[in-house]
Amino acid sequence: AQSVTQLDSQVPVFEEAPVELRCNYSSSVSVYLFWYVQYPNQGLQLLLKYLSGSTLVKGINGFEAEFNKSQTSFHLRKPSVHISDTAEYFCAVSDRSTLGRLYFGRGTQLTVWP
């Protein structure tokens, strides 16, 4: 069975600082990994996804993530954050057996201060 651990429930940073949101997964098979962003009282928007190939994945809004199979991690990074990046971020995992079902972590609230 798949599971996702997001180690930080809240991450406060100042504007223009770099940020890393951590995600670790557990699965016995090859996985597909996703990062979603949620703004208050809205649905989820896909930031980026890893399906196969290059382990460094670039997404929207300047975010990127690196798939590390040996460490079972898929951390999200941005070199310089903006106030508009304040939101909740979710890491999710699926695989061929899950028929598109995504299993999410508990989320990380990123707050960017001026």
């Binding site: 429930s9 597909y32 009282n41 649905g43 928007q45 896909l46 979710f90 899950t98 028929l99 598109g100």
Partner: protein
């Protein structure tokens, strides 16, 4: 292009009352459909998924049920709401592939049971 509609956006219901949340998808055929619930501090929990009309699978035992009367319609129901049913409910769809695809989310329904 594909779109997903979910309504209502907010709902306040008394304990013991029935519930019906509706979700429809446009612009795609035979999608996989999902209902997720987001409770405070608990991330997103997959409640139900469906790979076709009348085919419903439940991920967790609970007070809710789901139905798919048409290819692109997914309904979440309850006969008698509990306080613990409060939360943010999200409908999502994905193409019917083997997991290597993201899910697309609706805008969610904020349900408060009082």
């Amino acid at each position: 292009s594909q779109t997903i509609h979910q309504w209502p956006a907010t709902l306040v219901q008394p304990v013991g009352s029935p519930l019906s949340l509706e979700c429809t998808v446009e612009g795609t055929s035979n999608p996989n459909l999902y209902w997720y619930r987001q409770a405070a501090g608990r991330g997103l929990q997959l409640l139900f998924y469906s790979v076709g009309i009348g085919q419903i699978s439940s991920e967790v035992p609970q007070n809710l049920s789901a139905s798919r009367p048409q290819d692109r319609q997914f309904i979440l129901s309850s006969k008698k709401l509990l306080l613990s049913d409060s939360g943010f409910y999200l409908c999502a769809w994905s193409v019917p592939l083997g997991g290597n695809t993201e899910a697309f989310f609706g805008q969610g329904t904020r349900l408060t049971v009082v």
